[in-house]
Symmetry: C2
Subunit: 135 residues, 2 copies
DNA sequence: CTCATAATTAGAATAATTCTAAATTAACAC
DNA sequence: GTGTTAATTTAGAATTATTCTAATTATGAG
């Protein structure tokens, strides 16, 4: 059914992302791919990123990133995000984690944030209808 | 030195956030506090949220949330975010984590995202100049 | 109570992203 | 190769989220 076409724009964007470790923004990507193909448009960059995300070839660093979301900061808690309904639940339980020494040597680690993704009680069984983003 | 004043706007916003587990957006907060105080402005909500964040009383769910950031999704990696320079480093190493059974019973967990915060090699020693956000 | 200055406000400005409608192009059948 | 069709790209307008500006108000120290 859903056929999809291979275009040089998609290739250029994918190639750029593959050789990149800087977690670029859409604007960054736009500037970079435009050097090779000056006709490529910003709208295409956005379209393509959303498309590649849906295909699972690209992921996004934050959750629902078009709007900022806030929290009181009283407890050091983590989050569970339901991939079906999109709700965010607070996790108060401790999650033990073992960070390899090599890592602790390389970075001065001050705090940790853990996001769990999956389906909540009400949604288990349903098919996934949100993109697996930020993972 | 830096005196700060207690205003009913700040109280209203803080009170709303305290009794809330929905991770509201600025717009959500604006609508909610406006029911009690119709004169409160959206700019104040933004000002106050940024202020409370700086004070550490409120935190924000995502990192650098005004721009989306992308990644190829080939490896299941985590991230280290330097609080000083803001750079994001990929973590390829495995981070072992033990999720309590109570949690695994409550949610169907499909994947995990871990963000480590701290200072990178080049920045250790420097004073922290980015807000501790998203923690 | 007075005063200095912090905070609020409305609305303009900016920045990021999405939408629209027309033009182009890849893929596929023939 | 040619023609057809639907997918994709494009420029620019529109929308949305956030910040800025400059004037006004109000908190808290003295």
């Amino acid at each position: 059914m859903s056929t999809f076409k291979q275009t040089y724009q998609r290739k250029a964007i994918m190639d750029y992302l593959k050789g990149n470790r800087d977690h670029p923004t859409a604007e960054d990507i736009y500037r970079a791919v435009n050097k090779g193909n000056p006709s490529i448009s910003l709208a295409t960059v956005y379209n393509t990123l959303n498309f590649l995300k849906k295909k699972g070839l690209v992921s996004e660093l934050s959750v629902n990133s078009t709007k900022r979301r806030f929290d009181t900061n009283n407890t050091n808690h983590h989050h569970f995000i339901c991939l079906s309904c999109g709700n965010v639940h607070d996790i108060e339980e401790d999650i033990g984690l073992s960070i390899p020494k090599a890592l602790r040597d390389q970075f001065e680690i001050l705090s940790v944030r853990i996001d769990l993704y999956g389906r909540c009680k009400g949604c288990s069984g349903k098919s996934q209808d949100l993109p697996l983003e930020g993972i």
